[in-house]
Amino acid sequence: MYNFSYQKVSSVADAVDAIKKADDGKFVAGGQTMLPTMKHRLASPSDVIDLGGIDELKGISVDGDTVTIGAMTTHAEVAASSDVQGTIPALANLAGNIGDPAVRNRGTIGGSIANNDPAADYPAAVIGLGATIKTNKREISGDEFFTGMFETALEDDEVITAVLFPKAEASAYMKFENPASRYAIVGVFVAKSGDIVKVGVTGATACAHRGLRLEKALNGNFAAEAVDEVEIPVEKMNSDIHASAEYRAHLVKVMTKRAVEACS
C-alpha cells in the first residue's frame, strides 16, 4: 500500500467537499474491493475519504411497496433485516450469500454498486427489481446506472445515498459461483409483478444487464421451459479460465430457469 491521506467525514456534504479538494481522491465505503487493490499497490489514491461515519447513509426502511436501503448498509444487515426478508426475501438471500462473513460485515450495498464489479451480485438485483439509485444529486434508474466494466453513471463528486427497491410479487436470485472466488460466474435475478417480468444478469458480460430476450420469453409464459427457446448471444459473454463464453451463455439459461422455478 502506498501512502495516502485519510479522512473520515460525517456528512455527505463534507464528503463531496473533501473529494473536490483532493488531488486524486477516492471514497471508501466497506473497502472490500478497494483496500485489497490498494494493498496490492494497484491503486494509489492521494486521499481516501471514509463514508463510514455518515449516519444518514445507513439503515433500512419500508414505505408501502418500496424498500429503501441506505448506501452504507452492510450485506449482513440486509441479509438479517426482517423488513427485507418480509418484503423481498430474494434480496435478503442474495445479500446473505455475498463473499464470506468478513466481507458481509464490512461490505456495503452502495460500495458494491458503485464499484460495479462485473461479477458482483447486487447489480443483478438492482436491474431485476428495477431499483432506483438515489444520489446526492439525482435519482438514477437501475437500467441506466451500470454503464460498463467497473463503470457507472456516477460523477466524480456524486455519492450514492440509498437504493430504492420496489417490491415484486415473486423474485429469486440464482448464482453460479466461481469455485475459487465465489463471485458469480453467472447470476440471474428474476422478478415478476403482474404480467411484467424483469431479469437482471450479472457475471456473464462486461457489466450487469437486463436479459431482454429472456424477459420477452417469460412475459408471455412465466415457466422454465419458456427459456429453452431463447438464444443467448455467446459473443457478448465473458470468457476466462473458469468459464468459456459458450458455457456462460448456457449457464445464463440454466440459472434463469432455476430462478423462474424458485419464483413459483
Binding site: 499497490r41 479460465i241 473458469h242 468459464a243 440454466v254
Partner: protein
C-alpha cells in the same frame, strides 16, 4: 493400555496454545533493531539481465542495503542444491543447472529472485524495490510440460540440452514389450496430473540474526526440518559452519512438503543479516507464495496395461513427462523417479513393469514434493488405468482389483519395481470399504438420482504408498545425499517430569501429543508431565525432520528405543535401591518392582536417585537421560481402499461428493482422533486436486492462477462427512507396528473422485481438476 497411552484419542496438548492465540510463528518474532527484506522478482518468465541499477533504490528513504547475485557470489555463498541424483539413460547424472539464490545474468521464471532490498520498514523496502532498475532482454518462454523437450524449443539452461533434466528408464523393456505383444487385451490411457500450489495457511517466513560477538547466525524459519536446513546451508551454501548456525522452526502453520526445501529467500536472509549486521525479517505475502513456493505434481503420462483373458495384469508400461520447473528444488529429482515409478505396482501382482520418466525444465516455479510426492501421481495413473481395464474387460471395478491383488499370504512381497511390501491385506480393506460404502446398493441410488435428473457415479481407489522414509542404505544406493534415520532423546528431570527431544518437526500433525502418548505408555509417566521438544538445532540433537509420513514410523521408534534404554538403566538403579538382583527387577506402569514382592519404586524416584546418586550402583553413570537413533530396515506401506460417490448435475457440470468411505491400513493407531483428522485432511487435499486446484501458466509464463480469486482451494462445503474405518495389518519391520497416515488421503482420493465422475458420465476419462465446465462438456456426450 496406560491412561492416555497408545490407542487413546487424547485431545491435542498443543491445541491450547493454538486455540488461545499463543502459538508462536516465525512472523510473530520481532527482534530489536530488525530490518525488513523485500525481494525484487522477475516479471518475466525468461530473460537475460543486462544490467541492474540499484542507485535510486539505495538512495530511497530507510534503505539499509540493496543486494544482488553479484554480492552473493562475491561473498562465496554457494548455489541452492538438489540432494538426490538420478542417472539418465545416457549413463550421466541428471542435468543440474546452477541455481543462485539471487539471479546471476538470467531469470528463468516469473517470481525469480533478482535482488533484495533491506530497509527499516517493509513499506520502505517495497517502495525502494520499485526503484531498482533492471534491464531485461526478454526471451521466449517454455511452459508446456508435454512439449518442453521438443526440438526447436527455446533452451533454458545450457547444461540441459532439449530442456531435459533426465530421461530415466526403469524395468525390463524387452520382457515387457514381449508380454504386451502376446497379451489378450491391452488397455491404455493418456492422463495429466495437474499442477498444484500447495498453499499452507502460514506463508513462508524467515528472521535472521547475527551475533558479531559469537559470530553465530540464528535463523528462524518456516521449516519442516531445521537440521536439514542447517546442514545444507552450511555444507553446500557456505552460509556458516554448522556449529555457528542455529536454525529454529518454531510453530509452523502447515507444511505439506513446501517447507522441506531450502529456498532463496531463507538463504538470503541468513546471509544478509550478517552482511548488514542487523536482524533481517522476511515474510512471504500470498502472491509471493503462489509465485515462488515450490509447486507440486505436473505430469503428462501415457499408461498401458496388458491383460490375459481373465483380466489378470501381465505387464504394465508407462511413459511419463514430469515438469520440474525452472530450477531443481531440494528434492525435485526424487519425486517423479523413485517416489513415483517404484510405486507403480500398487496393490497388484503385475509381474512386469516398465517405466520411462523424462524430467524437463520449463520457465515455471520449481516443482518438488507436495503431500504424497510421487505416490499420488503413481496412484492416480494406476487406479484410473485399472478402471479402464475393468471397462475394457467387462468386469466390475471391484472384481478386477480382487483378481489382481497381491494375496495376503504373499507378504513380504517383492514388486518388480524395487519396493518389497512387508505387510498388507488388500482384500480386507476392499471388503470393508465396499460394505461401508454400501456398494451393493449403488444401483438403486443411481436410479433414484436419475429421477431427479442427476448422474450418480461410484469410484474405487485401492492405493499403496511407501512411507516411513526411509532406510538410509536404500536411499543412499538410489542417490540420496543424506541418511533418513531419526533421533530422539528422552530426558528425565530430577523432579520426575520428562522432556522428549525429537529430530522430527510438528507443523500440524500433533506430535506433541502422539509422542507423549508413546512415552506415557512405555514409561508410565502421566502425560501432563511429558513435554515434546522439537524444531531448534540448539535444543535438539540432529534429526532429519518431518515429511513422507515418517515421524511416527521412524521418529517414534527412536523415542521408544530411548525409553527402553531408560528402563534398562532404571532397573540397575532400582535393583541397588531395593537391594535386589537386576535380573529380578520388573518394570510396568511406571514402577520398578522386585519380582514376586511388593518392594517397588516409581520411575520418578529412580530418576531422582540418578541425579542425586548418594547411594548408587558402582560404576553406573549418574543422570537419567538417554538418546537413540533409528534407521528403518524398510519403508512402511500404508494401503487402503477409498470409495467416492458423486452426483453430477448435467445442466451445470457441478460435481457433488455425496458419500466418501475410506478404509485404511496404517498398522497400529496411537491416537485414533489425530489419525482420523489426518485422513480427513488428506482426503480434502485429494478432493482439491481432483475437483478444484489447477495451477495455470499462460504461454508467456505468467501465472494466471496467482491468487485465491482464481486458484480454488477446497472448502468445507466441497466435501461430505467422511466414513472412515481401518483394516490394519502388522508391519514386521516396525517395532511400534505403525505405518504412517499423513499422506494417505491425498494419495487415495484423486482417483476415487475421478473414477466416480467417469462412472457417472459413462466416459473413459476426465482430467483433473474436473471443473464444472469440463464436466458439463463431458456430460454432453455422456451415456448415463
Amino acid at each position: 493400555m496406560a491412561e492416555n497411552g497408545v490407542g487413546a484419542s487424547v485431545r491435542r496438548k498443543e491445541d491450547h496454545r493454538f486455540l488461545t492465540g499463543k502459538g508462536s510463528y516465525t512472523d510473530d518474532l520481532n527482534v530489536v533493531g530488525q530490518t525488513h527484506a523485500y525481494f525484487v522478482r522477475s516479471p518475466h518468465a525468461h530473460a537475460t539481465i543486462n544490467n541492474i541499477n540499484t542507485s535510486a533504490a539505495l538512495a530511497a528513504d530507510g534503505v539499509v542495503a540493496v543486494l544482488t547475485g553479484d554480492d552473493l557470489a562475491a561473498d562465496g555463498i554457494g548455489p541452492l542444491i538438489c540432494g538426490v541424483s538420478v542417472t539418465s539413460d545416457d549413463g550421466e547424472p541428471h542435468r543440474a543447472p546452477v541455481h543462485s539464490a539471487l539471479a546471476q545474468g538470467k531469470v528463468n521464471y516469473v517470481g525469480d529472485h533478482v535482488a533484495v532490498v533491506i530497509a527499516e520498514t517493509l513499506t520502505e523496502a517495497k517502495d525502494a524495490a520499485e526503484k531498482v532498475e533492471v534491464d531485461y532482454g526478454i526471451l521466449p518462454a517454455v511452459t508446456d510440460t508435454a512439449t518442453a523437450a521438443d526440438d526447436g524449443q527455446e533452451q533454458i539452461h545450457e547444461v540441459a540440452p532439449n530442456n531435459q533434466c533426465f530421461n530415466w528408464p526403469f524395468g525390463d523393456k524387452a520382457a515387457v514389450d514381449a508380454a504386451f505383444e502376446s497379451a489378450h487385451k491391452v488397455s491404455s490411457l493418456d492422463l495429466v496430473n495437474n499442477r498444484m500450489v500447495t498453499n499452507p495457511m502460514e506463508p513462508r517466513a524467515a528472521v535472521g540474526e547475527y551475533n558479531s560477538g559469537t559470530e553465530e547466525i540464528t535463523l528462524h524459519l518456516t521449516t519442516q526440518n531445521p537440521h536439514v536446513h542447517r546442514l545444507v546451508m552450511s555444507a553446500f551454501n557456505q552460509l556458516a559452519p554448522e556449529h555457528k548456525l542455529r536454525v529454529v522452526g518454531p510453530d509452523v502453520g502447515g507444511g505439506f512438503g513446501v517447507k522441506i526445501f531450502v529456498y532463496s529467500e531463507e538463504l538470503v536472509v541468513g546471509w544478509a543479516c550478517r552482511k548488514v549486521n542487523r536482524p533481517v525479517k522476511w515474510t512471504s505475502d500470498r502472491t509471493e507464495a503462489f509465485l515462488a513456493d515450490a509447486h507440486g505434481r505436473d505430469h503428462v503420462a501415457h499408461a498401458e496395461m496388458a491383460m490375459d483373458e481373465n483380466g489378470t495384469f501381465v505387464a504394465m508400461r508407462v511413459n511419463t513427462t514430469a515438469n520440474l520447473g525452472a530450477y531443481l528444488s531440494t528434492f525435485a529429482t526424487m519425486v517423479p523417479s523413485y517416489l513415483y515409478a517404484f510405486l507403480l505396482a500398487g496393490q497388484y501382482s503385475t509381474p512386469l513393469i516398465y517405466s520411462e520418466v523424462k524430467a524437463v525444465f520449463t520457465n515455471t516455479a520449481p516443482v518438488d514434493a507436495a503431500r504424497g510426492a510421487g505416490r499420488p501421481e503413481a496412484t492416480f495413473l494406476l487406479e484410473r488405468l485399472v478402471d479402464v481395464c475393468a471397462e475394457d474387460m467387462g468386469l466390475d471395478p471391484a472384481e478386477i482389483r480382487r483378481r489382481n491383488f497381491i494375496p495376503v499370504d504373499a507378504f513380504p512381497y517383492q514388486t518388480p519395481v524395487v519396493q518389497c511390501y512387508d505387510s498388507g491385506d488388500y482384500n480386507a480393506a476392499l471388503d470393508k470399504a465396499l460394505a461401508l460404502a454400501d456398494y451393493e446398493g449403488f444401483a438403486g441410488r443411481a436410479e433414484e438420482a436419475k429421477s431427479r435428473g442427476k448422474y450418480r457415479g461410484i469410484g474405487i481407489s485401492s492405493y499403496v504408498e511407501a512411507c516411513g522414509i526411509a532406510p538410509s542404505a536404500a536411499v543412499g544406493q538410489l542417490g540420496a545425499g543424506v541418511g533418513l534415520w531419526e533421533s530422539a532423546q528422552v530426558r528425565f528431570n530430577p523432579t520426575g517430569n520428562v522432556q522428549v527431544f525429537t529430530g522430527t518437526h510438528s507443523h500440524g500433525q500433533g506430535h506433541e501429543t502422539t509422542f507423549a502418548q508413546l512415552v506415557t505408555e512405555q514409561l508410565g509417566v502421566p502425560i501432563e508431565n511429558i513435554e515434546v521438544i522439537h524444531g531448534d538445532t540448539s535444543k535438539t540433537q540432529f534429526g532429519m525432520g518431518t515429511y513422507g509420513s515418517r515421524s511416527l514410523a521412524v521418529g517414534g521408534v527412536a523415542i521408544a528405543k530411548a525409553c527402553e534404554k531408560l528402563i534398562e538403566k532404571g532397573k540397575k538403579i532400582a535393583a541397588h535401591a531395593l537391594e535386589a538382583a537386576v535380573g529380578d527387577i520388573e518394570f510396568s506402569d511406571g514402577n520398578f518392582t522386585v519380582a514376586g514382592t511388593d518392594k517397588t519404586m516409581n520411575i520418578a524416584e529412580v530418576a531422582f536417585n540418578a541425579y542425586v546418586p548418594h547411594s548408587y550402583p558402582e560404576g553406573l553413570e549418574p543422570g537419567f537421560d538417554e538418546n537413540a537413533f533409528f534407521d528403518p530396515m524398510n519403508f512402511s506401506f500404508p494401503a487402503g481402499t477409498h470409495i467416492c460417490e458423486v452426483e453430477v448435475d448435467p445442466d451445470t457440470g457441478v460435481v457433488e461428493i455425496v458419500k466418501y468411505s475410506a478404509v485404511d491400513d496404517f498398522g497400529k493407531l496411537i491416537n485414533p482422533m489425530i489419525v482420523e483428522g489426518q485422513v480427513h485432511g488428506g482426503i480434502v487435499h485429494g478432493v482439491g486436486q481432483a475437483l478444484l486446484e489447477g495451477c495455470q501458466y499462460d504461454s508467456d509464463g505468467q501465472l494466471i492462477t496467482a491468487s485465491y480469486m482464481d486458484y480454488a482451494m477446497p472448502r468445507a462445503d466441497n466435501v461430505p462427512s467422511f466414513d472412515v474405518d481401518y483394516a490394519p495389518t502388522n508391519p514386521p519391520h516396525n517395532p511400534l507396528g505403525v505405518k504412517g497416515c499423513g499422506e494417505a488421503g491425498a494419495i487415495g482420493a484423486p482417483p476415487a473422485v475421478i473414477n466416480a465422475i467417469s462412472n457417472a458420465l459413462g466416459i473413459k476419462h476426465i482430467d483433473m481438476p474436473a471443473t464444472p465446465e469440463n464436466v458439463w462438456r463431458a456430460a454432453q456426450t455422456a451415456t448415463s
